[in-house]
Symmetry: D2
Subunit: 461 residues, 4 copies
């Protein structure tokens, strides 16, 4: 319930125009991937325009903005950000000019060799306005473009230098380019609407603009739309790596109506619930889920176990960014403001409750209390994600080991601390089976401390 990722990206190439409006609706469909800031850059002939700011898509853009942003290409970005102050300055896409003209970059992910890259280029005279990965990626692309025969080749040469998670959409004056890191950490797919091509973080964005799904961008691929409006691809830009799509995309980040690398997100969540039922059979009267992303796992558990599913927790939909949290004295009721138990479902019952994950344990503790106050006879807490044992270096906002529940306590202690009758987590082995249709390997580093890319000595930034 408290894990965040950094971004969603969107790009469209449509000679018939109206690209800003499509980007608007595409970003809106990707809003769940980032609510802090957003932006759209468009290309109209040689003229690049950009509008970006802190806020939701529906707040940042006015009708006038979209009219002014008119063009035949657009890239867009939604951003989740942990930094407090300057939300506005970290908004993407980044727009730049260099010897070959202008270009824009939108980026989702996190590099692990960014400090090395920064040092390398600073010694050669680079100056940077921000500390973002995106700016250094843009810088390398511009440098490579001085030597490379084309912008797409410059992007490919850049990809070779980057280590970490990155799904990129790049817009030059005449081309739209998408690139996905060789490990495939983050999703990126390709859609088509008549003669228009679309790149997006998730397939739900294709649906929202009436485009049909074509295929995913492959790990390590640089896909682009050429001057004839044809989709082309560069696949030789880097060696073959062990692929590692983030499993949290299936458990939590992605929208259930998205299909990632061939796997339906909704189906994966149901499957996670089914495996939970196999691993943790419980004598109970009802299975409930924690809204929103725990509901599907609960339904899967019910299907597999035969215990009836019912709605047990109701979520308040209106919590906003400026909402005032209850004071310290009333801290135990902060969950109560977001969630309320359905007494008619849980009163007198033995309840299995499934959350998408358990990070620090504080929410789980309050949930158990909430359900007991509503009359639950027994409360069995299950997590459809395994125990978190390590941080993420690839863009997911997982706290340090010192704060991770499963790093500090044994399973027994955890169960006692949250006050449940029993506590269970999905095993890593089962987790690896929840996406059987997926064409990509997985990263489960936060559950195993084994990452697709060796990460040594990753200091705090």
């Amino acid at each position: 319930m408290a894990i965040h990722e950094e971004c969603g990206v969107f790009g469209i190439y449509d000679k018939s125009g109206g690209c800003a409006e499509s980007a608007y609706y595409g970003l809106y469909a990707l809003q769940h991937r980032g609510q802090e800031a957003c932006g759209i850059a468009t290309m109209n002939g040689l003229e690049q325009r950009c509008r970006k700011d802190a806020g939701l898509v529906g707040e940042v853009f006015s009708r006038e903005d979209l009219a002014q942003l008119n063009g035949t290409m657009a890239v867009g970005h939604v951003r989740y950000s942990t930094t407090g102050g300057s939300l506005r300055e970290n908004a993407q896409p980044l727009t730049l000019s260099y010897v070959k003209g202008t270009f824009a970059v939108a980026h989702n992910g996190n590099l692990v060799n960014v400090d090395d890259l920064r040092r390398h280029y600073e010694y050669r005279g680079a100056i940077f306005h921000t500390t973002s990965d995106s700016e250094i990626i843009a810088y390398i692309i511009a440098q490579e473009r001085l030597l490379a025969p084309s912008i797409e080749r410059a992007v490919a040469n850049t990809v070779r230098q980057l280590r970490g998670a990155f799904s990129l959409v790049v817009m030059s004056s005449r081309k739209l380019i998408a690139a996905r890191d060789p490990w495939g950490f983050r999703p990126l797919c390709i859609g088509k609407r008549r003669d228009a091509w679309i790149f997006a973080s998730e397939s739900c964005a294709l649906d929202s603009v009436g485009a049909s799904f074509v295929r995913d961008v492959e790990p390590g691929e640089v896909a682009y739309v050429d001057l004839n409006g044809e989709l082309q691809s560069i696949r030789d830009c880097c060696g073959k790596e062990r692929t590692g799509l983030c499993l949290f995309e299936f458990l939590y980040f992605a929208r259930p109506d998205s299909v990632i690398d061939g796997q339906s997100v909704h189906a994966a969540r149901l499957l996670a619930g089914r495996y939970l039922a196999q691993e943790h059979p419980i004598a109970a009267d009802v299975v409930i889920g924690v809204p929103d992303s725990g509901l599907n796992a609960a339904k899967g558990y019910a299907l597999e176990s035969g215990i009836p599913y019912n709605d047990g927790l109701i979520k308040n939909r209106y919590i906003g960014r400026t909402f005032i949290q209850p004071g310290q004295s009333a801290r135990e009721s902060s969950v109560r403001l977001k969630l309320n138990a359905l007494r008619s479902t849980v009163s007198g019952q033995r309840v299995v409750v499934i959350d998408d994950s358990i990070v620090r344990g504080t929410t789980s503790n309050q949930l158990v209390k909430l359900l007991r106050d509503a009359g639950a006879k027994e409360v069995h807490m299950l997590s459809s994600a395994p125990m978190f044992v390590a941080p993420c270096y690839f863009g997911t906002d997982i706290p340090s080991k010192e704060e991770l529940f499963a790093c500090k306590y044994s399973l027994e202690e955890m169960c006692r601390l949250i006050g449940a009758d029993s506590l269970g987590f999905l095993s890593v082995e089962s987790l690896r089976k929840i996406a059987p249709d997926c064409s990509c390997g997985f990263c489960d580093g936060c559950f195993t401390e084994r990452y697709p890319i060796p990460v040594e000595e990753q200091g705090e930034d």
Copy 2:
């Protein structure tokens, strides 16, 4: 999906203070009843303070506001409003001063004799700042207080004059008073937290502030907290009327975790689905619901029919007030921005889809298209509300007959216009059975054109 009610009310009497904060969280729990404006008035000794504005609870109040509003009583209000311009000026509670001091009024509902009352009092010299029902109610209370021995009796004398829907919370310098109209159109309940008393439109607001449910305010009752902090009641202020709680509270307005006049809202929605299944048996492969309020009826239908329930439509949670609707040319895709079909659920299937109601038919038409585009083999549309045949005079925002789908077309025509394989509505007879635990009679005037209060010649306002 497009029906709105006007308001939610909240009142708290707590000698230990902190009433503004409780009102804040109480209103937040009632936010679904109105998102346009909100306000809180508090009483601290003889000093009354008020803060109200257009916007969500989380937007209108800052931490400083709550600190300044400190007091031992508070009344709060959330408002839905159709009027475009002056949202801010219609915000409640209304705060007033008169010969006996100051008082505040928060009101949910709609009077049918407001024009008569206004004319009557204007002839006697009244002047009004607004055209709201609330101001005239406040005016009558103040007039009656000149003659009555107490403020609660003045409220009782006022109740006698009002015809229509009203759930009121009134705060004088020393007393907190709640009144519900003799017909009981809108819900109003009583809670307790240690020595504190709470009045609220729905029981979910009691839960949010850690109060326990005591009972509902009865139709025609004036309940109040006296100077000793005891709950008292006036029940003789008007004759016994045929009670008529709005059935739309169960179908749509209220939160599923609320219990109204003894009836769980969640259970009522499941039951509506069960009756739908009995009345409209369909040979189908899957039952899906339209989020959010159609989901429970779909689950009830599945339970009764044995056809499996599955998630079939995913809702985008981020639509905001300034969201730009697609242009005229793309009008048919406005539903697509809010909802997306889960191909893995509906593709190749015979689908039963249940919405909470069908008003104009435009949304249903787009839903059917959305499902067919996602591969549904058959689409059977059911409404868990009966056909709308008449307007509401008691605060629910139902369009005029000219716009109501069921007033313009036969069932067959409707089915053809929305493009479904079949179309069905819950019968009024079944509707009356969805709330078996309810202690109150029902108003189903919008489905039958028979209202608890005769309404002749109700002109447009």
Copy 3:
């Protein structure tokens, strides 16, 4: 430099329309009379509309607002307010409905019998939304209208009951009415532009809308535009009183290009300086003024004395409402942010510096220091207003005796405290001669404690 008045009013009757736009420019010309809030109400046929809010005229109204406010009559208001919180709710005009329809009231001034009036009407059942004088005036007008044959006669009957300062503009569905209190405390004038009639607090507002000055509204007069568009007048509504136009209008409040009751404000300020020179001859090298309202008196002093005038203090024009005042430790430099001395004017010189008034003495002390730091050899401080010895009950924001410099110290002490070489004030006798063209008597109560209306036992409000 720190005295404020409450308001400016404006009204226009123009059958050819565009009244909101004229009111906008008229209020803008009156902005110096109040910068806290403003509003415009218009009448279009029977439809009254209003837009008002906290802020400057240029901030509150958009082009769309003016378009929507279109009508054939308008009243407007700018407000200065000492109250912190609810600026917005105190904004005028007040718009009301009663048995005869709707009307709007804009009011400048302060009543001394408001508590008596409020008590009187509350006993008869009145309820009030605010504690403003304006609401009680509106209430009485509505009450009187029940008995009177016309709205203008109701206003006249109201005028009879009010004691204190009031310049009113009232707009009913068909008539525009202006009333000035029998003492004539505040200015109010009449202008004409083709067939249109205009009422305004100052003649500079007539100039700004291209109207020509007709005459002032007389003390105790109710002037109105009748149904034929002719200007009419009621003069018998109250007894003849000793008139008492506020002398501070000439010294400080009014714009120098206004003419009030026949007297040019600019000329009055020059004359104040001339009398100062006669009363306080000083051997000096240069005369300077404190911008903006001390400059003219300084020029008058120079003309009379023969000592050359020069600019000696430069004002920063950009101070805004949210400007951060320097911390306590740096308190003595707050004047320095607003004013800077011109070294080339004052260095090595014997300087006479003239301010419009001296209230608490703190500003004067800083001014003297500023001039000495810039090299002034001698600093002689003169005030073109006499010593303040008493509060104002008629709308001018003069602090209590406890805070008034001249109430706490002798002239010698004052001179020593501000650090000047000499200190002088204009005498009350001379003050009474600065407006020789004025057709009205004067109120100099704050300098003499003798008011046109006896004020006994005026408690703090």
Copy 4:
């Protein structure tokens, strides 16, 4: 009345801290140099922070901002900008990181070789986020720092490459540096407050923070505060150029209480009026000025001619950025909203009116009409600036020749078009004499088309 310059800069080095607050008050004193955007960057140890946005100083910074910006060095900037859209992104200071750490740049002026520089560096791999001069200056400093032994020497090496107007303040982690172009187009001075050093565009900013004036930065000098807090200087960074301080600084831009290169601005304006009187003797009754910057020239004319000075035009001080201009039909009255004539001064008189400059002639035409409407018998218009005959390439916003009044018409035609009885301009010869104390040569290119730097083929940007 319609000429704008681009910026004001401020820098402070104060080991005792509180630099953000000083920058705040310093920028506030420089607000007349730019009202569109502003910003402050501070250095606290190695940590650089920045806050900048569109808006006035009093609007952009909150007390919390200043508290967070605490540090021992600060640079600040106020900006005037002609570009419509992205005010916010053009705000300065620019903050950057490179191999040696972080630095900030604030810049006032305009380069003429920016296109060459940009091309030169882009060919070597530079990428730019904006099209501003400031970014390219920052880029070159960072490049030069790779080779130079110190940041101040890198700035000196940068200065050598720049052609055009630039007054810079640069802040590195440990040093504060100020640089002025070799021609000295824009002012830049040095102040001291105890151990603190201050650089500012105008001396009035020194006064506002209680600092004393030390000296001006010389054209071509790079001044800096070294690690011991001592002021040092590099003067050999470029060849000796003919100096050319912008004469419009004296006529219009600078605040009258500033002293630039030894010359009092106030005294220069008086002198301009004196020379006007010598060149254009007129038989008149009164001399008036157009507020604010024409007033001093009018006083100088009066002193020289013996014709009495009087206030003749009153300015409305409250015009804001969102003020609604009158519609096309009422275009001739837009001046009337800002200015009103004092009838008591001009009625029946032969009037000499002095404006600081005449650009397009439209304002002058309206002014003459305004004065005649107020009863002036004759109106003689004089401009204290010579005729504009050429654009400015160094940061002053002068329109193209096609729009310049004096480029399109003869003196006679101009006089007829504005409707004056006579029209005169200060001669270029006299203009050159208005700043006798100035240690710097002048640029009068906009009056002579001869610039200190040859400008050939300066295309539109």
